[in-house]
Symmetry: C3
Subunit: 444 residues, 3 copies
């Protein structure tokens, strides 16, 4: 339970807010690369951290992310022409490059130096891992890109999608870190009938030969025991459930500062999934979902499956709006809810969205009642709010300076009850916190 | 004419407002019974007096009306499962019965007493007269259900519908109590052509063999003389018009605290109509319309007629939204207005809605000019505002303690000019205020 | 660049604002005459200067523009009956004439004088130049109608249309006065292909036999030299561009207080165009576009062309909403933008709207950077804001008392470089400020 003031502190990310300042110390996905497919193509309006921005891909392939209004008379550069290494305002032809420099100002004579005094706000961008990233913080604090494994692999080994969500980014991250909810929200009631099999298949818990054990263990133990361990880039969140015997079934997530989370499902040889939450404004966010296989390319069949809404990938339209969303009640089917799945909503991603959106645009945390299974949520808030408070006191976030430490994995394991999380991690990933950077030459 | 402060006092009904406190001393219709047709069926979102609530019918047939957000993490129980005498949150399975008790809390061990400390806000409900009623006031002040005649009769003798209206509830009640407007708003211009006959038939003024006299009297006298008499449950409002001879044509309504009104039309042997206004928020309300015949069942043909929009019943869609409404300008037909009916809008209920909505979401009463025909409106405001002021001073409303005194009737009569309203009522209904409770064993 | 306070001062026109007071000293177009085609026809809701009003054409052909709410109980007279020289409220039959007098009050006895005390707010109206004009200022300050040439001519020689625009009226006027933007916003890229020819034809720059010179001159000189000259009714704004030789190509506009502007294109023998901006509220306006030929009737073919969206006439639907508008991104075609026209948006009027709307509902002038080509905008603001400040100090606007001085023309000319704007005007129009009133008997 938070005070009203703390809830606002946690959830507000606009310019000048403490949490907004913290987020602005990190690179944010701004677009999928596919959203700006061609050089000199149409610019695209975007909104990030409450700021309206314009993105365009220049003649040289670089991407500009800029303030959309022309400094001359305020016309929106969205209607401008993206041509010859710059975007030219449709009103009077003022032209700006991806760095915000005014490269042509035709209402002044060619010999005038007026244009050297005109600057368009432009944020640094990078293109990496099939996404366009933006850094919106102070220029002198610009960090390295976080070395997520999906970006270190060849493009053939990863797949990235995005979706809109109608709630504050924080409650959506909290939903991802709270893996206890798998026992209910994503549960399948009658796992032997055809519809239930299809639901399980879509949920991706069943994409291996013998997943029934895991499903049963999750179903039978709604009270996993949590262990949380910090590291330079974030938090390791382990949840241990009972199995049929003495062993424990561990589901282990990673939270990576300030807005990435890895799912806890993958057994060795399976596909890994992660998500990144980027606030549009305080009542909505974009969720970038990436998955990867460290050892092999993803097949076309797998990519088609992700596009159809699989695991935490959602089924979206051409504007990345989920087909099942707040406005159509997620197409909840009450008969399916009665007989087949716990929610009657199709898709793990959509089940998550329904519950997270249902808390309201910003969850009222003054009325919540947290318990032992919410410890991941509690530690996440401490890390985030502590980071924002430290930054206000002048202490820069350690994670921003630890780009290589983002090279981690998360997933599932079955282990003897005496083993603690560090031991389970060491056995599963070769490192107590799941670090795999040495495989990519990022040091030990 | 009211001051701005008095207008707000009169029209605001949210939690903590004086008028909201007064309304919360009475039972309110919350739903038609048909809206929760089956046990363990889908829950339904409702909004009453500015409060977002969730209604569900439990396994035992009882109805719960509760705060929609789960106390655990704030997920909306609307997505929950209505099963085995309670609604279970889809997020982590916390479960609540219709009284708001937490009956299962699976994230804590079975032996934990944590769930005994968790309570979901739940309001008392009753099901009576084909409606589900809710009481949203202090538990120790809970009154008896108002003994409206429609609820005392067998279900075969009544019919209940509901409709949405896009304005504050008070101006809509005022429209019902002001029976002077029948001379204009519901008037038919050319009563001898086919279209006019159809309009009259729909208006229900003509469902008797020889209604032409009443129509003519209403049309010829736009200045009825009003007499208002108080009683324990509300106000008796009589309006006397000239007839062709010396007699007066009385149209007599009942206002029953705090939000019921009976129409003034019924002659002996005719059907009686009443309405109840329930604020959704301050700019909209639900209107429950009930009609009944004290002496016989209503036929299927009559029920079909009500569903098609007859008398004060509106023609609505599956969500109880009127087919002719603010968003489509009530399908006003200016040719019909020129030649056939005074408004060009089809249906008495829709004509009322058009005029009442047209005042704005909340009528600006600082600019009105009331006259002698508005005395019913004036007395209604006095009763309501006086009741709210008294309650603020610690005096409970008498009507809430007078459930049996709601057993009254209202209707029309023709009487010699020397007879006053009390005499007319005594002759028409056997009681000076129209009380008929003795017929149902409710005392004299 | 304006301060935030000055920007609000310039753009706010509601009741009680300084600019609103200034605008209310002038007649405003309220409707096209065609919007109230028949006597006793349906009334029409309108909104002007932030005021919701109701317009109706009476039995005698006069137009009333009144407060829409009946003084009795606040019902909207829009649902009333327009009959026998007045509009009658549908609720209780109170009736008002076009001057706001209560001419029938049936809820009081015929002998009552109560109705003489009841008054409905009604603004004076005139019908002139195919428009219905309204004066919303103090009655004792009512001016003459501005003697625009289009209104002095027979109806056969003019054409008037209107369109909705989704931004504050001031930035839209500023777009019209800033004729430097023709070098970009309305430019055609490849003027020899078929699509480009069609675009040019629609833009009306090419409706003469040999317009190619003008197009080339506009294209080649994006830095016209401005000269601004004041006169009693407004401002003369001349912009001189280089031609192929020594001569200058002058494009000369008129701004007429407080909200008319004439386009700078017409050569002798061509059609003249003007526009008038009427704020609906501070974030939207109606633009009335009128064109005329001083010497001949306009043909049916020309009228059809205007309706199809030609020159500053827009292509609109039955409610005067532009077919290409903010909600559909002006149907921008990025391929056309790449190859054929500078914007990819069809129509000069729509290109203007796109750029003007794109500044936001109210342009943030605290961030603009004006230059030499913006001098017309600067002088316009000085005149308007100066007028509003003077009025606050008790000095009435001179233009309101100078109705005859609105009889001016504007247009294009080619002249020797030594000639100043006054000389060019004298040669082109016979008067240094373009006054042609003597041709209509309005004095010298």
């Amino acid at each position: 339970m938070l005070s009203k003031a703390d809830n606002e502190f946690l959830t507000q990310s606009g310019p000048g807010t403490p949490m907004g300042d913290l987020l602005r110390r990190f690179w944010m996905p701004a677009l999928l690369s596919e959203e700006l497919p061609v050089r000199d193509g149409p610019p695209k309006k975007i909104k990030i951290l409450g700021e309206d921005l314009l993105a365009f891909r220049s003649t040289d392939g670089r991407v500009g992310i800029v303030e959309p209004h022309c400094p001359h008379r305020g016309a929106n550069l969205y209607y401008g022409r993206n041509e010859e290494c710059g975007i030219r305002c449709a009103f009077h032809g003022w032209k700006f490059d991806v760095d915000g420099n005014c490269v042509d100002l035709p209402t002044s004579p060619p010999e005038s130096t007026y244009k050297d005094t005109i600057k368009l706000l432009a944020y640094p961008t990078r293109e990496w891992g099939d996404m366009i990233w933006v850094y919106m913080g102070p220029r002198e604090k610009i960090p390295e890109l976080p070395q997520l494994e999906m970006g270190l692999l060849p493009a053939s080994s990863r797949y990235v999608t995005k979706k809109w969500q109608d709630c504050n980014w924080v409650q959506s991250v909290e939903g991802a870190l709270d893996t206890a909810h798998f026992s209910f929200l994503h549960a399948v009631l009658a796992k032997d009938d055809v519809a239930a099999r299809a639901a399980l298949a879509k949920a991706a818990i069943a994409d291996q030969a013998t997943p029934d054990d895991r499903i049963r263990w999750i179903h039978n133990d709604p009270r996993p025991k949590f262990t949380i361990l910090g590291h330079d880039a974030g938090l390791l969140i382990g949840a241990a459930r009972k199995t049929d015997g003495a062993d424990l079934y561990w589901r282990i997530s990673q939270f990576l500062m300030p807005n990435h989370a890895y799912t806890p499902t993958a057994f060795p040889g399976e596909i890994y999934y992660g998500q990144c939450w980027v606030p549009a404004d305080d009542g909505s966010c974009w969720i970038y979902t990436y998955c990867w296989h460290p050892d092999r390319p993803l097949s076309n069949a797998e990519r088609a499956k992700f596009d159809g809404g699989f695991n935490v990938h959602a089924e979206v339209d051409d504007d990345y709006m989920p087909l099942r969303n707040l406005r159509n009640d997620y197409l909840i089917d009450r008969k399916v809810q009665k007989h087949t799945t716990f929610t009657g909503i199709e898709g793990v991603s959509e089940q998550d969205a329904a519950i997270q959106d249902s808390m309201g645009p910003i969850q009222d945390r003054t009325r919540e009642h947290l318990g032992p299974t919410d410890v991941g949520v509690v530690e996440f808030r401490k890390l985030l709010m502590g980071g924002a408070r430290s930054l206000q006191a002048g202490i820069e976030p350690k994670a921003a300076a630890s780009a290589n430490r983002y090279a981690v994995r998360a997933g599932g394991a079955v282990a003897a009850p005496a083993k603690n999380l560090e031991t389970v991690m060491a056995e599963r990933f070769g490192h107590a916190r799941g670090y795999i950077g040495q495989q990519y030459g990022l040091g030990d």
